[in-house]
Symmetry: C2
Subunit: 336 residues, 2 copies
């Protein structure tokens, strides 16, 4: 609405040259105190705010790193976003966040936008962008990817992916240790790699204990609550003797929990339940849910540090995300 004040106007108002004002703003060189004072006063008086665009244009540095997330309302990725925010804090860089909604076209558009805004680095949280595209991006700027087993090392990028299979195996092994033998699995979207890996871990755990894999003990879900509820109903219908269920994520476990509640089946006395992701709410469900925690926040922070490191030419110590089993009250030993 109101035209913005420019540096030149400040200079005139203060009776100095534009460069002097610039120097004061950026601390590029020492300036006599009296001039500094009058410039600062002029800035206040005029309500001057530097134009980031002009600055970026002149310096060739945007001071921003692009973040491609999937859903700004996803509790899952948002922890990583917090971490990124924290990791960037105080670095002079700020994040520009865009959501791709797991749709390749939207993601590509988002990347275009970020590139147009001349982000100096890119952090990608999951998504469907083809590996090749990520690689060619990593060719142009520092790229860090979360949740995809992608080798970007030779391109100057980094990717951290979780060992979903291992974690799922640990979780199911825990159930086996507690004496469970009829263990159901509500799996995630079949075409998503995470879902496949978690299913794989489930199978491996069973096999390593010599428990037969029964296809009808696995039902399809879509990572959301309603599918957990339905999945649980189907499992109970097919296997009334089921004593434990491994849900491919916590959200589906919530749905499963509700299905059991509605049927008057107790957790964990009658059926034990485990999830995956350890959402913030999972220690406050009734009973608190056994799950496996992905250190999203730490991962986000590391991603930020990684790209900062590349930007500043510093080495960044590698990061070994640790999946931690969170053993809570939703699992009981099977009664003999």
């Amino acid at each position: 609405m109101i035209r913005n004040v420019t540096l030149a106007e400040v200079a005139r108002e203060a009776g100095v040259s534009p460069s002097t004002v610039s120097r004061i703003l950026n601390g590029t060189a020492r300036v006599k105190d009296d001039k500094e004072q009058s410039v600062r006063r002029a800035i206040d008086r005029l309500g001057y705010r530097p134009n980031a665009f002009a600055r970026s244009l002149a310096t060739g540095a945007s001071g921003s790193v692009g973040v491609l997330t999937q859903d700004i309302a996803s509790p899952f990725y948002n922890d990583a976003l917090s971490g990124i925010e924290r990791g960037l804090m105080g670095s002079g860089y700020s994040p520009i966040i865009i959501s791709g909604h797991w749709r390749t076209d939207e993601e590509e558009h988002a990347v275009e936008l970020l590139l147009a805004r001349r982000v100096e680095a890119l952090i990608v949280l999951g998504g469907e962008l083809p590996d090749d595209e990520l690689r060619s991006l990593a060719d142009r700027l520092p790229v860090a990817v979360l949740g995809r087993p992608l080798d970007l090392g030779s391109y100057g990028g980094a990717s951290i992916a979780l060992n979903n299979r291992q974690a799922a195996r640990d979780l199911v092994t825990h159930l086996l240790d507690r004496g469970h033998r009829v263990i159901g699995h509500i799996m995630g979207l079949a075409d998503q790699e995470d879902a496949q890996e978690r299913l794989g871990g489930y199978r491996e755990a069973l096999e390593s204990r010599g428990v037969a894999y029964v296809p009808s003990l696995v039902v399809q879900g879509d990572f959301r609550e309603p599918s957990g509820l339905i999945g649980m109903q189907r499992l109970l219908a097919a296997h009334p003797d089921i004593t434990a269920v491994f849900c491919a994520n916590d959200q589906m476990a919530y749905g499963a929990r509700l299905a059991l509640y509605r049927l008057g089946i107790r957790v964990p006395e009658d059926v034990s339940l485990v999830g995956f992701d350890d959402l913030p709410g999972s220690c406050y469900t009734t009973p608190p849910l056994t799950s496996v925690r992905q250190p999203m926040e730490e991962m986000g922070q590391w991603l930020a540090r990684f790209v900062l490191g590349r930007l500043l030419g510093e080495a960044v110590p590698p990061f070994e995300p640790k999946l931690e089993l969170q053993l809570r009250e939703s699992v009981a030993s099977r009664r003999p």
Copy 2:
């Protein structure tokens, strides 16, 4: 890493003038087909991407609207963010999101950053920014505020605030209707207006039914789960005869729920529980939680539309957010 291709290079490669390329890019004027073709080819060949900064500098329009949220990981505001994203979609504007973490200094810094990035409008989600500051901002650009009862009308801004008091009154009246008389309240941060309003609604509901307000039935919380757990313990200690509890938000209700579970007190048979906000998870708690839904997503969408309207000089129909009571199984009639 790799220097970016400029429009001038494209022009040279295509054998035309920079202005021609610009015209093609922006559709500012008709250009002969053959030139257009060769320019498009040059763009592809060189991998040219327009520099958003240079463009903004030249046009004076940034194409972005600033969004000040509080916590990028807050499920509460994130629904509004989704709405904003949706409301902006296809408008040519894109959001720049920064978190203020309910700290005035951080929020001010965030606003500085947004203003430096020359956002054309500002959307503020809650926060602690002084009203005056918001008003003076609304003086410079379109501003839309969520969750604060602030009159920005004369400044060309808009603010939508929820009638927290009314909703709280409805919720508590619902409990009274179900026969409850000893009703506790776990309140939010005492210095936050929402918390005060919800407490006010609680009192009003009681008084309108001639039920005495008992100070010891109100305990302090901070809007987070642990405080709900502790609050519930304290309420039970002071009032073993309590039959219902109104938590100032769902997160605290989750905590309260867990406290009851640990003590073997049943919900809703022994104690009824209600929350506030209707988080996505609240229909999947056991039992599902009675709460009041704030249409965050719709509000976000409206906020976006509002600032767009102001930007484009179009009128935007006013918005009347409706708080909807979500009656679920966490409330039972008091047994006679």
